[in-house]
């Protein structure tokens, strides 16, 4: 039986036994390489389920849709390791109750899809530990290194060119499971901290603020990067910030549902070489 069929059976079981009220998964999209989020509420709807190497979107943002979890019923969701880390963070930040989430874990390597054993986010802690071990290597990106070789002026020019394209559609924010604020900082207008206009200055500010608010929280799922209709390489900034919190504070976001958020905690002996 293929993984997809195994999981279809599992989804049907979960729904018909009443363990979960809904399973969030993937179905076919407009083109062969696209997948759409699928909300499965009856065992029959599981027929549409698809699971293959194109199922890369992190669906966990749907879990915090208003009202979904407020009835305290359980919801199943297809998650890759980055998605499992995401729900750990959401739980750590008190956005959801991790007990309510049944994880249907899978991983993709190349074209290969493998099932991950476990049911709740906690079951995957060994896997996530190993991700942390590999993180310094995994976060490496030749483009980041290239950019860091440049002088600040050139780097500024690079980002100026990239951000000048931004149209402030906020697809990056909306696609990000971590961007759950009821009122985003750009929508706060007394005072208006970030220019809402999408001239380059406003775009620059927005993208810096967005990246800062995700520092130490981003799991690198790539939802923002894929969502961007003007193809700004947001993953570079996010990955650079992940490198920073890993290097400076030995922190990888989403290790467990009790992990303290890196910017809401401190150690007395945190390094401070830059402070005069």
């Amino acid at each position: 039986m293929t993984i997809q069929e195994q999981y279809k059976t599992r989804v049907r079981e979960l729904l018909s036994s009443g363990t979960v009220k809904m399973v969030i998964g993937y179905k076919a999209g407009t083109t062969a390489d696209r997948r759409r989020p699928l909300f499965i509420r009856t065992p029959e709807e599981a027929d549409q389920l698809l699971l293959d190497s194109a199922c890369i979107a992190n669906l966990s943002g749907y879990l915090i849709a208003e009202g979904l979890l407020s009835d305290e019923k359980r919801v199943g969701i297809f998650l890759k390791p980055d998605g499992i880390r995401t729900i750990n963070i959401l739980a750590a930040e008190a956005q959801l109750n991790i007990e309510q989430i049944i994880v249907l874990g899978f991983d993709i390597t190349g074209q290969e899809v493998t099932a991950l054993q476990g049911e709740t986010a906690g079951d995957f802690s060994a896997l996530i530990e190993s991700i942390k071990e590999g993180a310094p290597e995994a976060l490496k990106n030749p483009l980041i290194d290239q950019l860091e070789q440049l002088n600040p002026k050139e780097r500024f020019a690079y980002w100026q060119a990239e951000f000048s394209r931004c149209i402030k559609c906020y697809a990056c924010r909306q696609a990000c499971p971590m961007c759950y604020c009821r009122r985003c900082i750009v929508d706060c207008n007394q005072p208006q901290w970030v220019n809402t206009s999408s001239h380059t200055l406003g775009n620059f500010e927005w993208n810096i603020v967005r990246a800062f608010h995700l520092s130490g929280r981003c799991v690198g799922c790539g939802n923002c990067d894929r969502a961007c209709p003007v193809n700004i390489p947001l993953r570079l900034i996010n990955a650079r910030m992940a490198q920073e919190v890993l290097g400076s504070f030995d922190h990888l976001a989403g290790m467990s549902d009790t992990q303290e958020p890196v910017l809401a905690s401190f150690k007395k002996d945190d390094s401070e070489t830059f402070i005069l």
Binding site: T30, K168, S198, N223
Partner: protein, 337 residues
Amino acid sequence: MTRILLSDKLDNCVARWRKAGLTVIGPVKKETFSSYAVVEKAAEFDLGLVLPDRSIKGLFFPQTEPMLEYTIKKQAIDTKDFAPPSDKRIIFGARPCDASGLAIDDPLFGWDYKDEYWFQRRNETVIVSIACTRADDFCMCTSLKLAPDSTKGSDVLLRPLQNNKGWLVQELTDRGREAFSQIADLLQEGSEPAAPTVVVAEKFNLDACVAWLQNPANFDSSFWKEISMRCIGCASCTFLCPTCHCFDFQDEGDTYSGIRRKNWDSCSFALFTMHTSGHNPRATQSARWRQRIMHKFNYFPGKFSVNSCSGCGRCSRQCPVDMGITETLQAISTLKP
């Protein structure tokens, strides 16, 4: 016999137009992203694109545009107007769907109060469209009763030659004729056949959809909730759309001096309609998606006798969750009116 513009003469045309003081604009692809951009040479054009990522709208209705500059003095306020630029422009290689989008929005910007920021640019811009010989899975002009060679909104329509060496020239307006009179000697008479335009399959039955949308009972249909469940509420569909025209005013500056700007805004944002009291007429994403569809295919045509959609398919092509007008209308066309 018709007039033909050969591709290898295009660079001369661009030079000629530039010399005549026209800003030449066309589809340009830079690395991962394409848009209509200013060019100096024909080689910068990428005429092979199905469609540039960004629509033509921004050239007439920029994403952000200064409108007023204010300076507050003791007992007086100086207000200076930013007029729209008066440069003459030619857009070469627009797609017919993009050009139609402009014609669709004309009545909106012109009813009763005339928005000069739009019309000044419209009047000073010549649009030379090229009929499509390629399409992708998202193109849907035919479903909107338009075609890959629609002339709507264009000043000149070019049809690619079968031998791929140039285009048949069809001048449509005086503006177009004037621009092409400047390159008349670069054109030649010819009888080469035009390449057939691409066949874009009809994706939904528009009339059936409109009938369903016009039935007031369907306003509260559970369909809206189902179809928009995965909508994440970003504005990429509305901002890439060649016909979406909603905007916002923002003051940037302080209480002494600053600039009032006109910025794109989107009906998919929750704050778009939020009252100060906290009451929001369109409080849910499904209500907002319903508004978008209703506005395009029911309300707008009711006012201006034209659908507010030109079938470019950008909404579906770029949607982070693979939604879009096509999917919604396809689903609606299967429902009972």
